[in-house]
Protein backbone atom coordinates (compact mmCIF):
# COMPACT_ATOMS: atom_id res chain seq x y z
CA UNK A 1 0.00 0.00 0.00
CA UNK A 2 1.33 3.46 -0.82
CA UNK A 3 1.64 6.12 1.86
CA UNK A 4 -0.98 8.20 0.04
CA UNK A 5 -3.64 5.50 0.34
CA UNK A 6 -2.82 4.84 3.98
CA UNK A 7 -2.84 8.55 4.72
CA UNK A 8 -6.23 8.95 3.12
CA UNK A 9 -7.60 6.02 5.13
CA UNK A 10 -6.29 7.54 8.39
CA UNK A 11 -7.62 10.97 7.50
CA UNK A 12 -11.03 9.57 6.57
CA UNK A 13 -11.11 7.78 9.94
CA UNK A 14 -10.36 11.08 11.69
CA UNK A 15 -13.09 12.83 9.71
CA UNK A 16 -15.59 10.06 10.44
CA UNK A 17 -14.83 10.18 14.16
CA UNK A 18 -15.07 13.96 14.34
CA UNK A 19 -18.30 13.97 12.32
CA UNK A 20 -19.77 11.46 14.77
CA UNK A 21 -18.76 13.81 17.60
CA UNK A 22 -20.36 16.69 15.70
CA UNK A 23 -23.66 14.82 15.39
CA UNK A 24 -23.57 14.11 19.14
CA UNK A 25 -22.66 17.73 19.89
CA UNK A 26 -25.46 19.09 17.71
CA UNK A 27 -28.02 17.06 19.68
CA UNK A 28 -26.66 18.59 22.87
CA UNK A 29 -26.51 22.14 21.58
CA UNK A 30 -29.75 23.72 22.71
CA UNK A 31 -29.12 27.35 23.57
CA UNK A 32 -26.68 30.18 22.94
CA UNK A 33 -24.41 29.14 25.84
CA UNK A 34 -24.07 25.69 24.28
CA UNK A 35 -23.35 27.05 20.83
CA UNK A 36 -20.93 29.83 21.78
CA UNK A 37 -19.34 28.38 24.92
CA UNK A 38 -19.97 24.62 24.86
CA UNK A 39 -22.32 24.97 27.83
CA UNK A 40 -19.27 26.11 29.89
CA UNK A 41 -19.04 22.47 30.89
CA UNK A 42 -15.51 21.49 29.82
CA UNK A 43 -12.96 20.68 32.49
CA UNK A 44 -9.69 22.58 32.81
CA UNK A 45 -7.74 19.63 31.38
CA UNK A 46 -10.12 19.22 28.42
CA UNK A 47 -10.02 22.90 27.62
CA UNK A 48 -6.25 22.92 28.05
CA UNK A 49 -5.96 20.24 25.38
CA UNK A 50 -8.35 22.22 23.20
CA UNK A 51 -6.21 25.33 23.70
CA UNK A 52 -3.26 23.32 22.43
CA UNK A 53 -5.40 22.11 19.52
CA UNK A 54 -6.51 25.63 18.63
CA UNK A 55 -3.04 27.12 18.95
CA UNK A 56 -0.70 24.58 17.37
CA UNK A 57 -1.45 25.33 13.75
CA UNK A 58 0.13 23.68 10.75
CA UNK A 59 2.39 26.74 10.70
CA UNK A 60 3.81 25.80 14.07
CA UNK A 61 3.86 22.05 13.43
CA UNK A 62 5.30 21.98 9.91
CA UNK A 63 6.57 25.56 9.81
CA UNK A 64 8.76 25.59 12.92
CA UNK A 65 10.22 22.14 12.30
CA UNK A 66 11.01 23.34 8.77
CA UNK A 67 12.55 26.60 9.96
CA UNK A 68 14.82 24.72 12.35
CA UNK A 69 15.71 22.15 9.69
CA UNK A 70 16.77 24.87 7.24
CA UNK A 71 17.99 27.72 9.44
CA UNK A 72 18.83 25.94 12.67
CA UNK A 73 18.53 27.85 15.90
CA UNK A 74 16.33 30.70 14.60
CA UNK A 75 13.33 28.41 14.27
CA UNK A 76 13.61 27.71 17.99
CA UNK A 77 13.54 31.44 18.67
CA UNK A 78 10.14 31.54 17.00
CA UNK A 79 8.67 28.81 19.18
CA UNK A 80 9.90 30.45 22.39
CA UNK A 81 7.88 33.59 21.58
CA UNK A 82 4.81 31.43 20.99
CA UNK A 83 5.23 29.80 24.41
CA UNK A 84 6.18 32.75 26.64
CA UNK A 85 3.10 34.54 25.27
CA UNK A 86 0.91 32.25 27.37
CA UNK A 87 2.10 33.91 30.57
CA UNK A 88 0.34 37.11 29.47
CA UNK A 89 -2.87 35.13 29.09
CA UNK A 90 -2.35 33.33 32.41
CA UNK A 91 -1.40 36.27 34.63
CA UNK A 92 -3.49 39.08 33.19
CA UNK A 93 -6.38 37.82 31.12
CA UNK A 94 -7.80 34.29 31.38
CA UNK A 95 -9.51 34.38 34.77
CA UNK A 96 -10.67 37.99 34.66
CA UNK A 97 -12.10 37.47 31.22
CA UNK A 98 -13.93 34.29 32.27
CA UNK A 99 -15.48 36.19 35.17
CA UNK A 100 -16.62 39.25 33.27
CA UNK A 101 -17.52 38.09 29.76
CA UNK A 102 -20.08 35.79 28.21
CA UNK A 103 -19.36 34.75 24.63
CA UNK A 104 -16.95 37.06 22.81
CA UNK A 105 -13.95 39.28 23.39
CA UNK A 106 -16.18 42.32 22.99
CA UNK A 107 -18.26 41.34 26.04
CA UNK A 108 -15.44 42.42 28.34
CA UNK A 109 -15.14 45.81 26.63
CA UNK A 110 -18.87 46.41 26.35
CA UNK A 111 -19.26 45.80 30.08
CA UNK A 112 -18.55 49.36 31.16
CA UNK A 113 -18.55 51.22 27.87
CA UNK A 114 -20.97 52.36 25.29
CA UNK A 115 -21.84 49.00 23.73
CA UNK A 116 -22.44 49.83 20.09
CA UNK A 117 -19.16 51.58 19.19
CA UNK A 118 -16.96 49.15 21.17
CA UNK A 119 -18.77 46.07 19.88
CA UNK A 120 -18.46 47.35 16.33
CA UNK A 121 -14.72 47.94 16.78
CA UNK A 122 -14.09 44.62 18.55
CA UNK A 123 -16.28 42.73 16.06
CA UNK A 124 -14.44 44.22 13.09
CA UNK A 125 -11.08 43.44 14.65
CA UNK A 126 -12.12 39.87 15.58
CA UNK A 127 -13.32 39.16 12.07
CA UNK A 128 -10.27 40.74 10.41
CA UNK A 129 -7.79 38.84 12.61
CA UNK A 130 -9.63 35.53 12.20
CA UNK A 131 -10.04 35.86 8.43
CA UNK A 132 -6.34 36.70 7.92
CA UNK A 133 -5.36 33.70 9.97
CA UNK A 134 -7.98 31.49 8.30
CA UNK A 135 -6.87 32.45 4.81
CA UNK A 136 -3.25 31.61 5.56
CA UNK A 137 -4.32 28.18 6.89
CA UNK A 138 -6.55 27.46 3.87
CA UNK A 139 -3.77 28.26 1.43
CA UNK A 140 -1.47 26.13 3.58
CA UNK A 141 -3.88 23.21 3.21
CA UNK A 142 -3.71 23.50 -0.57
CA UNK A 143 0.09 23.58 -0.49
CA UNK A 144 0.22 20.63 1.89
CA UNK A 145 -1.75 18.33 -0.37
CA UNK A 146 0.64 18.89 -3.23
CA UNK A 147 3.61 18.30 -0.94
CA UNK A 148 2.32 15.16 0.71
CA UNK A 149 0.45 13.54 -2.14
CA UNK A 150 2.28 14.90 -5.13
CA UNK A 151 -0.93 16.44 -6.53
CA UNK A 152 0.43 19.49 -8.24
CA UNK A 153 -2.60 20.54 -10.25
CA UNK A 154 -4.49 23.68 -9.40
CA UNK A 155 -7.62 21.59 -9.37
CA UNK A 156 -6.35 19.23 -6.65
CA UNK A 157 -5.30 22.16 -4.47
CA UNK A 158 -8.62 23.90 -5.01
CA UNK A 159 -10.51 20.70 -4.25
CA UNK A 160 -8.54 20.24 -1.02
CA UNK A 161 -9.27 23.80 0.08
CA UNK A 162 -12.95 23.28 -0.69
CA UNK A 163 -13.03 20.00 1.26
CA UNK A 164 -11.31 21.53 4.29
CA UNK A 165 -13.74 24.45 4.07
CA UNK A 166 -16.84 22.26 3.85
CA UNK A 167 -15.75 20.13 6.81
CA UNK A 168 -15.01 23.17 8.97
CA UNK A 169 -18.43 24.63 8.11
CA UNK A 170 -20.08 21.36 9.14
CA UNK A 171 -18.19 21.23 12.46
CA UNK A 172 -19.07 24.81 13.36
CA UNK A 173 -22.63 25.04 12.06
CA UNK A 174 -23.77 21.76 13.62
CA UNK A 175 -21.34 21.20 16.46
CA UNK A 176 -20.91 24.78 17.68
CA UNK A 177 -18.36 25.20 20.45
CA UNK A 178 -19.00 21.70 21.80
CA UNK A 179 -18.21 19.96 18.55
CA UNK A 180 -15.31 22.27 17.74
CA UNK A 181 -13.75 21.77 21.18
CA UNK A 182 -13.85 18.00 20.83
CA UNK A 183 -12.28 18.26 17.38
CA UNK A 184 -9.45 20.28 19.00
CA UNK A 185 -9.03 17.74 21.79
CA UNK A 186 -8.81 14.79 19.38
CA UNK A 187 -6.40 16.70 17.17
CA UNK A 188 -4.18 17.74 20.10
CA UNK A 189 -3.91 14.11 21.26
CA UNK A 190 -3.07 12.91 17.74
CA UNK A 191 -0.52 15.64 17.21
CA UNK A 192 1.21 15.05 20.54
CA UNK A 193 1.26 11.28 20.04
CA UNK A 194 2.54 11.52 16.47
CA UNK A 195 5.23 14.04 17.39
CA UNK A 196 6.29 12.07 20.49
CA UNK A 197 6.64 8.89 18.44
CA UNK A 198 8.98 10.51 15.94
CA UNK A 199 10.94 12.28 18.68
CA UNK A 200 11.58 8.98 20.47
CA UNK A 201 12.71 7.32 17.23
CA UNK A 202 14.98 10.25 16.34
CA UNK A 203 16.53 10.23 19.80
CA UNK A 204 16.97 6.46 19.63
CA UNK A 205 18.81 6.88 16.31
CA UNK A 206 21.23 9.30 17.96
CA UNK A 207 21.72 7.09 21.02
CA UNK A 208 19.62 9.46 23.18
CA UNK A 209 22.40 12.00 22.98
CA UNK A 210 20.99 15.43 22.13
CA UNK A 211 24.43 16.96 21.86
CA UNK A 212 25.52 14.51 19.17
CA UNK A 213 22.21 15.01 17.33
CA UNK A 214 22.85 18.77 17.25
CA UNK A 215 26.40 18.26 16.03
CA UNK A 216 25.22 15.93 13.27
CA UNK A 217 22.63 18.53 12.27
CA UNK A 218 25.24 21.29 12.19
CA UNK A 219 27.52 19.14 10.05
CA UNK A 220 24.83 18.01 7.63
CA UNK A 221 23.62 21.59 7.21
CA UNK A 222 26.99 22.65 5.83
CA UNK A 223 26.87 25.74 8.02
CA UNK A 224 28.80 24.36 10.95
CA UNK A 225 28.41 25.88 14.41
CA UNK A 226 26.48 28.86 13.00
CA UNK A 227 23.58 26.45 12.51
CA UNK A 228 23.24 26.14 16.28
CA UNK A 229 23.40 29.90 16.85
CA UNK A 230 20.94 32.71 16.15
CA UNK A 231 21.29 34.75 13.00
CA UNK A 232 20.80 32.58 9.91
CA UNK A 233 17.18 33.56 9.31
CA UNK A 234 16.21 36.60 11.39
CA UNK A 235 18.34 39.69 11.58
CA UNK A 236 21.15 38.26 9.47
CA UNK A 237 24.29 40.37 9.23
CA UNK A 238 23.51 41.24 5.56
CA UNK A 239 20.12 42.69 6.53
CA UNK A 240 21.83 45.07 8.93
CA UNK A 241 19.95 47.10 11.51
CA UNK A 242 16.51 46.77 9.95
CA UNK A 243 16.85 42.98 10.04
CA UNK A 244 17.62 43.06 13.74
CA UNK A 245 14.78 45.47 14.47
CA UNK A 246 12.55 43.12 12.52
CA UNK A 247 13.60 40.34 14.88
CA UNK A 248 12.56 42.43 17.90
CA UNK A 249 9.34 43.37 16.14
CA UNK A 250 8.50 39.73 15.45
CA UNK A 251 9.36 38.80 19.04
CA UNK A 252 7.02 41.47 20.41
CA UNK A 253 4.15 40.49 18.12
CA UNK A 254 4.50 36.80 19.04
CA UNK A 255 4.66 37.36 22.78
CA UNK A 256 1.89 39.96 22.97
CA UNK A 257 -0.35 38.74 20.15
CA UNK A 258 -1.48 35.41 21.61
CA UNK A 259 -3.50 36.95 24.43
CA UNK A 260 -5.35 39.10 21.88
CA UNK A 261 -6.33 36.34 19.43
CA UNK A 262 -10.13 36.07 19.51
CA UNK A 263 -10.26 32.31 18.85
CA UNK A 264 -7.99 31.77 21.86
CA UNK A 265 -9.84 34.22 24.12
CA UNK A 266 -13.24 32.58 23.64
CA UNK A 267 -11.79 29.29 24.88
CA UNK A 268 -11.78 30.75 28.42
CA UNK A 269 -15.60 30.83 28.32
CA UNK A 270 -15.95 27.07 27.88
CA UNK A 271 -15.16 26.16 31.50
CA UNK A 272 -17.38 26.55 34.59
CA UNK A 273 -15.21 28.89 36.69
CA UNK A 274 -12.22 31.22 36.59
CA UNK A 275 -10.22 28.58 38.46
CA UNK A 276 -10.85 26.16 35.60
CA UNK A 277 -9.81 28.85 33.13
CA UNK A 278 -6.52 29.11 35.02
CA UNK A 279 -6.14 25.33 35.01
CA UNK A 280 -6.81 25.20 31.29
CA UNK A 281 -4.03 27.71 30.62
CA UNK A 282 -1.70 25.67 32.86
CA UNK A 283 -2.50 22.56 30.82
CA UNK A 284 -2.15 24.57 27.62
CA UNK A 285 1.30 25.86 28.67
CA UNK A 286 2.40 22.32 29.52
CA UNK A 287 1.22 20.82 26.24
CA UNK A 288 2.43 23.67 24.06
CA UNK A 289 5.79 23.81 25.85
CA UNK A 290 6.40 20.09 25.45
CA UNK A 291 5.32 20.30 21.83
CA UNK A 292 7.87 23.04 21.08
CA UNK A 293 10.57 20.99 22.78
CA UNK A 294 9.53 18.15 20.48
CA UNK A 295 9.75 20.46 17.49
CA UNK A 296 13.33 21.27 18.46
CA UNK A 297 14.17 17.57 18.13
CA UNK A 298 12.07 17.25 14.96
CA UNK A 299 13.78 20.22 13.31
CA UNK A 300 17.35 19.32 14.21
CA UNK A 301 16.54 15.65 13.62
CA UNK A 302 15.37 16.48 10.10
CA UNK A 303 18.55 18.47 9.48
CA UNK A 304 20.69 15.58 10.77
CA UNK A 305 18.89 12.59 9.24
CA UNK A 306 17.38 14.05 6.05
CA UNK A 307 19.70 16.99 5.45
CA UNK A 308 18.84 20.64 4.79
CA UNK A 309 19.56 20.34 1.09
CA UNK A 310 17.17 17.47 0.52
CA UNK A 311 14.46 19.31 2.49
CA UNK A 312 14.96 22.59 0.63
CA UNK A 313 14.81 20.68 -2.67
CA UNK A 314 11.38 19.35 -1.75
CA UNK A 315 9.99 22.65 -0.45
CA UNK A 316 11.88 25.93 -0.31
CA UNK A 317 10.23 26.97 2.97
CA UNK A 318 11.05 23.66 4.65
CA UNK A 319 7.40 22.78 5.29
CA UNK A 320 8.02 19.13 4.41
CA UNK A 321 10.79 18.66 6.97
CA UNK A 322 8.58 16.86 9.52
CA UNK A 323 6.96 14.45 7.02
CA UNK A 324 10.34 13.77 5.37
CA UNK A 325 11.86 13.06 8.76
CA UNK A 326 9.00 10.70 9.62
CA UNK A 327 9.64 8.71 6.47
CA UNK A 328 13.42 8.61 6.97
CA UNK A 329 13.38 7.65 10.63
CA UNK A 330 10.70 5.04 9.99
CA UNK A 331 12.90 3.49 7.29
CA UNK A 332 15.96 3.58 9.53
CA UNK A 333 14.21 1.90 12.44
CA UNK A 334 11.60 -0.39 10.87
CA UNK A 335 12.53 -0.69 7.19
CA UNK A 336 10.73 0.75 4.18
CA UNK A 337 7.21 -0.26 5.32
CA UNK A 338 7.85 1.64 8.56
CA UNK A 339 8.77 4.73 6.58
CA UNK A 340 5.56 4.54 4.57
CA UNK A 341 3.43 4.12 7.67
CA UNK A 342 5.03 6.96 9.61
CA UNK A 343 4.83 9.33 6.66
CA UNK A 344 1.15 8.50 6.26
CA UNK A 345 0.50 9.07 9.96
CA UNK A 346 2.21 12.46 9.98
CA UNK A 347 0.45 13.57 6.79
CA UNK A 348 -2.92 12.67 8.29
CA UNK A 349 -2.02 14.45 11.55
CA UNK A 350 -1.06 17.56 9.56
CA UNK A 351 -4.47 17.61 7.90
CA UNK A 352 -6.26 17.07 11.20
CA UNK A 353 -4.23 20.01 12.53
CA UNK A 354 -5.31 22.35 9.77
CA UNK A 355 -8.92 21.26 10.04
CA UNK A 356 -9.07 21.86 13.78
CA UNK A 357 -7.47 25.29 13.60
CA UNK A 358 -9.68 26.58 10.77
CA UNK A 359 -12.77 25.40 12.68
CA UNK A 360 -11.74 27.38 15.75
CA UNK A 361 -11.22 30.48 13.62
CA UNK A 362 -14.55 30.13 11.85
CA UNK A 363 -16.33 29.74 15.17
CA UNK A 364 -14.63 32.84 16.64
CA UNK A 365 -15.49 35.05 13.69
CA UNK A 366 -19.08 33.85 13.29
CA UNK A 367 -19.73 34.16 17.05
CA UNK A 368 -18.49 37.72 16.99
CA UNK A 369 -20.49 38.56 13.89
CA UNK A 370 -23.68 37.25 15.43
CA UNK A 371 -23.27 38.21 19.10
CA UNK A 372 -21.53 41.57 18.63
CA UNK A 373 -22.52 42.97 15.27
CA UNK A 374 -25.94 41.40 14.64
CA UNK A 375 -27.45 41.12 18.12
CA UNK A 376 -25.98 44.20 19.78
CA UNK A 377 -25.22 46.63 16.96
CA UNK A 378 -27.89 45.96 14.31
CA UNK A 379 -30.63 44.76 16.65
CA UNK A 380 -29.51 46.91 19.61
CA UNK A 381 -29.60 44.00 22.02
CA UNK A 382 -33.15 43.00 21.13
CA UNK A 383 -32.36 39.75 19.32
CA UNK A 384 -33.49 36.55 21.03
CA UNK A 385 -30.98 33.77 21.77
CA UNK A 386 -32.60 31.63 19.07
CA UNK A 387 -32.10 34.40 16.53
CA UNK A 388 -28.51 34.84 17.60
CA UNK A 389 -27.62 31.18 17.22
CA UNK A 390 -29.38 31.03 13.85
CA UNK A 391 -27.42 34.06 12.63
CA UNK A 392 -24.18 32.60 14.03
CA UNK A 393 -24.77 29.43 12.02
CA UNK A 394 -25.58 31.36 8.86
CA UNK A 395 -22.50 33.53 9.29
CA UNK A 396 -20.30 30.47 9.85
CA UNK A 397 -21.60 29.20 6.53
CA UNK A 398 -20.97 32.52 4.78
CA UNK A 399 -17.52 33.06 6.33
CA UNK A 400 -16.59 29.49 5.42
CA UNK A 401 -17.76 29.97 1.83
CA UNK A 402 -15.85 33.26 1.53
CA UNK A 403 -12.74 31.59 2.97
CA UNK A 404 -12.99 28.77 0.41
CA UNK A 405 -13.29 31.22 -2.50
CA UNK A 406 -10.50 33.51 -1.25
CA UNK A 407 -8.35 30.49 -0.39
CA UNK A 408 -8.67 29.08 -3.90
CA UNK A 409 -8.03 32.48 -5.43
CA UNK A 410 -5.01 33.13 -3.17
CA UNK A 411 -3.35 29.74 -3.58
CA UNK A 412 -0.71 31.04 -5.97
CA UNK A 413 0.04 34.03 -3.74
CA UNK A 414 2.48 34.10 -0.89
CA UNK A 415 0.15 34.72 2.05
CA UNK A 416 2.28 33.30 4.87
CA UNK A 417 2.71 36.87 6.19
CA UNK A 418 -0.99 36.90 7.11
CA UNK A 419 -0.33 34.85 10.26
CA UNK A 420 2.30 37.32 11.47
CA UNK A 421 -0.09 40.14 10.58
CA UNK A 422 -2.90 38.51 12.59
CA UNK A 423 -0.60 38.33 15.63
CA UNK A 424 0.48 41.95 15.12
CA UNK A 425 -3.12 43.20 14.87
CA UNK A 426 -4.11 41.17 17.94
CA UNK A 427 -1.19 42.61 19.93
CA UNK A 428 -1.66 46.19 18.71
CA UNK A 429 -5.44 46.57 18.86
CA UNK A 430 -7.09 43.86 20.93
CA UNK A 431 -4.56 43.49 23.73
CA UNK A 432 -4.39 47.18 24.74
CA UNK A 433 -8.19 47.44 24.72
CA UNK A 434 -8.58 44.34 26.94
CA UNK A 435 -5.77 45.19 29.37
CA UNK A 436 -6.93 48.78 29.83
CA UNK A 437 -10.57 47.70 30.31
CA UNK A 438 -9.67 45.18 32.97
CA UNK A 439 -7.10 47.21 34.90
CA UNK A 440 -7.42 50.92 34.21
CA UNK A 441 -10.09 52.86 36.04
CA UNK A 442 -10.01 55.90 33.76
CA UNK A 443 -10.50 53.87 30.53
CA UNK A 444 -13.62 54.52 28.43
CA UNK A 445 -15.36 54.09 25.09
CA UNK A 446 -13.20 56.58 23.21
CA UNK A 447 -10.07 54.85 24.53
CA UNK A 448 -11.24 51.37 23.53
CA UNK A 449 -12.32 52.44 20.06
CA UNK A 450 -9.06 54.39 19.48
CA UNK A 451 -6.91 51.49 20.70
CA UNK A 452 -8.59 48.94 18.44
CA UNK A 453 -8.81 51.04 15.28
CA UNK A 454 -5.39 52.63 15.93
CA UNK A 455 -3.66 49.28 16.44
CA UNK A 456 -5.53 47.51 13.63
CA UNK A 457 -5.10 50.41 11.20
CA UNK A 458 -1.42 51.06 11.88
CA UNK A 459 -0.53 47.35 11.65
CA UNK A 460 -2.30 46.92 8.31
CA UNK A 461 -1.02 50.25 6.98
CA UNK A 462 2.62 49.44 7.78
CA UNK A 463 2.38 45.93 6.36
CA UNK A 464 0.83 47.29 3.14
CA UNK A 465 4.01 49.34 2.61
CA UNK A 466 6.41 46.66 3.78
CA UNK A 467 8.55 44.28 1.75
CA UNK A 468 6.12 41.37 2.36
CA UNK A 469 3.47 43.06 0.20
CA UNK A 470 5.59 44.55 -2.59
CA UNK A 471 9.11 44.89 -3.81
CA UNK A 472 10.75 41.61 -2.84
CA UNK A 473 10.97 38.10 -4.25
CA UNK A 474 8.78 36.65 -1.55
CA UNK A 475 6.21 39.48 -1.63
CA UNK A 476 2.50 39.23 -2.36
CA UNK A 477 3.03 41.41 -5.44
CA UNK A 478 6.40 40.74 -7.00
CA UNK A 479 6.04 42.92 -10.11
CA UNK A 480 5.89 46.34 -8.53
CA UNK A 481 7.41 48.03 -5.52
CA UNK A 482 5.71 50.65 -3.39
CA UNK A 483 7.32 49.61 -0.12
CA UNK A 484 9.01 52.17 2.11
CA UNK A 485 8.59 50.57 5.56
CA UNK A 486 11.67 48.36 5.96
CA UNK A 487 10.35 45.78 8.47
CA UNK A 488 8.20 42.81 7.55
CA UNK A 489 6.54 42.82 10.97
CA UNK A 490 4.90 46.07 12.12
CA UNK A 491 4.76 45.20 15.85
CA UNK A 492 7.59 47.37 17.11
CA UNK A 493 5.69 50.47 15.90
CA UNK A 494 2.06 49.38 15.90
CA UNK A 495 1.96 47.81 19.40
CA UNK A 496 3.17 50.93 21.24
CA UNK A 497 0.97 52.98 18.91
CA UNK A 498 -2.12 50.94 19.84
CA UNK A 499 -1.39 51.36 23.56
CA UNK A 500 -0.78 55.08 23.03
CA UNK A 501 -4.03 55.51 21.07
CA UNK A 502 -5.96 53.87 23.89
CA UNK A 503 -4.29 56.11 26.44
CA UNK A 504 -4.77 59.37 24.55
CA UNK A 505 -8.29 58.43 23.43
CA UNK A 506 -9.33 57.80 27.03
CA UNK A 507 -8.03 61.20 28.12
CA UNK A 508 -9.74 63.04 25.28
CA UNK A 509 -13.13 61.88 26.50
CA UNK A 510 -14.67 62.80 29.83
CA UNK A 511 -16.80 59.65 29.98
CA UNK A 512 -16.31 57.66 33.17
CA UNK A 513 -18.74 55.32 34.84
CA UNK A 514 -17.72 54.67 38.46
CA UNK A 515 -20.60 52.30 39.07
CA UNK A 516 -19.75 50.08 36.11
CA UNK A 517 -16.04 50.13 36.92
CA UNK A 518 -16.80 48.94 40.44
CA UNK A 519 -18.92 46.18 38.96
CA UNK A 520 -16.35 44.89 36.47
CA UNK A 521 -13.52 45.16 38.98
CA UNK A 522 -15.33 43.29 41.73
CA UNK A 523 -16.83 40.75 39.36
CA UNK A 524 -13.64 40.06 37.43
CA UNK A 525 -11.58 39.47 40.57
CA UNK A 526 -14.10 37.58 42.69
CA UNK A 527 -16.29 35.78 40.14
CA UNK A 528 -19.48 37.20 41.68
CA UNK A 529 -22.26 37.28 39.11
CA UNK A 530 -20.18 35.31 36.59
CA UNK A 531 -21.94 33.21 33.98
CA UNK A 532 -22.51 29.68 35.23
CA UNK A 533 -22.28 26.36 33.42
CA UNK A 534 -25.40 24.94 31.77
CA UNK A 535 -27.33 22.45 33.87
CA UNK A 536 -28.11 19.96 31.13
Amino acid sequence: MSHETLSIILFVTFVAATLAITVWASRNTKDATDFYAGGRAFSGAQNGLAIGGDYMSAASFLGIAGLIALYGYDGFLYSIGFLVAWLVALLLIAELMRNSGRFTMADVLAFRMSPRPVRTAAGVSTIVVSIFYLLAQMVGAGALVSLLFGFDSEFAKGATIAMVGVLMIVYVVFGGMKGTTWVQIVKACLLMTGAALIVVLVLAESGFNLSSLLNDAAQQSGKGDAFLEPGLRYGTEEQGLSGKLDLISLGLALVLGTAGLPHILIRFYTVPTARDARKSVMWGIGIIGVFYLFSLVLGFGAAALVGSEEIAAENAAGNTAAPQLAERVGELVFGSAGGTILLAVIAAVAFATILAVVSGLTLASSSSFSHDLYAHVFRRGKATERDEVRVARISAFVIGAVAIVLGIYAQRLNVAFLVALAFAVAASGNLPAIIYSLFWKRFNTAGAVSAIYGGLGSAIFLVAFSPVVSGSEKALFTDSDWSWFPLSNPGIISIPFGFLCGFVGAFLSKEYNAEKYAEIEVRSLTGAGAEVASKH
Partner: protein, 116 residues
Amino acid sequence: MSVDKNASGTVYERFQSTTEFQDLRRRVRSFAFPMTAAFLAWYLLYVVLSGWARGFMGKELGPFNVALYFGLLQFVSTFGIAWLYSRRAERRLDPLAKQIREAIEAEEAKAEEDVR
Protein backbone atom coordinates in the same frame (compact mmCIF):
# COMPACT_ATOMS: atom_id res chain seq x y z
CA MET B 1 -16.73 41.61 56.31
CA SER B 2 -17.04 45.31 57.00
CA VAL B 3 -19.51 46.50 54.41
CA ASP B 4 -21.00 49.87 55.22
CA LYS B 5 -24.71 49.07 54.89
CA ASN B 6 -25.72 52.72 54.85
CA ALA B 7 -23.29 53.73 52.12
CA SER B 8 -24.83 54.75 48.84
CA GLY B 9 -24.18 53.04 45.52
CA THR B 10 -24.58 49.55 44.13
CA VAL B 11 -23.63 46.38 45.94
CA TYR B 12 -20.45 46.26 43.84
CA GLU B 13 -19.47 49.80 44.80
CA ARG B 14 -19.93 48.99 48.47
CA PHE B 15 -17.88 45.82 48.21
CA GLN B 16 -15.22 47.57 46.15
CA SER B 17 -14.38 49.77 49.12
CA THR B 18 -14.11 46.96 51.69
CA THR B 19 -10.65 46.22 53.05
CA GLU B 20 -11.05 42.58 52.01
CA PHE B 21 -11.58 43.49 48.38
CA GLN B 22 -8.80 46.07 48.40
CA ASP B 23 -6.57 43.37 49.85
CA LEU B 24 -7.53 40.89 47.10
CA ARG B 25 -6.93 43.53 44.43
CA ARG B 26 -3.52 44.31 45.88
CA ARG B 27 -2.60 40.62 46.07
CA VAL B 28 -3.57 40.08 42.41
CA ARG B 29 -1.76 43.12 41.10
CA SER B 30 1.34 42.90 43.28
CA PHE B 31 2.13 39.54 41.70
CA ALA B 32 0.81 39.88 38.15
CA PHE B 33 2.25 43.31 37.27
CA PRO B 34 5.87 42.93 38.42
CA MET B 35 5.97 39.33 37.17
CA THR B 36 4.71 40.40 33.72
CA ALA B 37 7.33 43.13 33.59
CA ALA B 38 9.98 40.61 34.65
CA PHE B 39 9.20 37.87 32.14
CA LEU B 40 8.78 40.37 29.29
CA ALA B 41 12.17 41.93 30.15
CA TRP B 42 13.76 38.47 30.41
CA TYR B 43 12.29 37.46 27.05
CA LEU B 44 13.32 40.73 25.36
CA LEU B 45 16.83 40.36 26.77
CA TYR B 46 16.95 36.97 25.07
CA VAL B 47 15.72 38.37 21.74
CA VAL B 48 18.08 41.35 21.90
CA LEU B 49 21.07 39.12 22.72
CA SER B 50 20.07 36.87 19.80
CA GLY B 51 20.24 39.91 17.56
CA TRP B 52 23.23 41.79 18.88
CA ALA B 53 25.40 39.49 21.03
CA ARG B 54 25.99 36.58 18.71
CA GLY B 55 29.54 35.99 19.88
CA PHE B 56 28.31 35.52 23.42
CA MET B 57 25.35 33.37 22.35
CA GLY B 58 27.67 31.12 20.33
CA LYS B 59 30.03 30.36 23.23
CA GLU B 60 30.30 26.68 24.05
CA LEU B 61 29.57 25.67 27.62
CA GLY B 62 29.93 21.94 27.99
CA PRO B 63 27.80 20.06 25.45
CA PHE B 64 25.73 23.05 24.24
CA ASN B 65 26.17 26.73 23.45
CA VAL B 66 24.85 29.69 25.45
CA ALA B 67 22.02 30.30 22.95
CA LEU B 68 20.55 26.85 23.54
CA TYR B 69 20.81 27.14 27.32
CA PHE B 70 19.22 30.57 27.13
CA GLY B 71 16.36 29.24 25.01
CA LEU B 72 15.80 26.27 27.30
CA LEU B 73 15.87 28.62 30.31
CA GLN B 74 12.96 30.51 28.72
CA PHE B 75 11.01 27.25 28.86
CA VAL B 76 12.06 26.68 32.46
CA SER B 77 11.11 30.22 33.50
CA THR B 78 7.74 29.99 31.72
CA PHE B 79 6.88 26.68 33.41
CA GLY B 80 8.22 28.03 36.72
CA ILE B 81 6.25 31.28 36.68
CA ALA B 82 3.08 29.44 35.68
CA TRP B 83 3.54 26.97 38.55
CA LEU B 84 4.33 29.75 41.05
CA TYR B 85 1.30 31.75 40.00
CA SER B 86 -1.00 28.78 40.14
CA ARG B 87 0.20 27.81 43.63
CA ARG B 88 -0.13 31.38 44.85
CA ALA B 89 -3.60 31.73 43.34
CA GLU B 90 -4.79 28.54 45.03
CA ARG B 91 -3.47 29.66 48.41
CA ARG B 92 -3.71 33.43 48.49
CA LEU B 93 -6.33 34.47 45.93
CA ASP B 94 -9.02 31.81 45.58
CA PRO B 95 -10.08 31.62 49.28
CA LEU B 96 -10.37 35.40 49.62
CA ALA B 97 -12.19 35.74 46.29
CA LYS B 98 -14.60 33.02 47.39
CA GLN B 99 -15.26 34.73 50.71
CA ILE B 100 -16.09 38.05 49.01
CA ARG B 101 -18.14 36.36 46.28
CA GLU B 102 -20.25 34.53 48.81
CA ALA B 103 -20.82 37.71 50.82
CA ILE B 104 -21.97 39.51 47.66
CA GLU B 105 -24.27 36.65 46.69
CA ALA B 106 -25.75 36.56 50.20
CA GLU B 107 -26.45 40.25 50.05
CA GLU B 108 -28.00 40.03 46.60
CA ALA B 109 -30.21 37.16 47.74
CA LYS B 110 -31.29 39.22 50.74
CA ALA B 111 -32.04 42.24 48.57
CA GLU B 112 -34.23 40.05 46.37
CA GLU B 113 -36.05 38.76 49.43
CA ASP B 114 -36.68 42.33 50.60
CA VAL B 115 -38.21 43.22 47.25
CA ARG B 116 -40.64 40.34 47.58
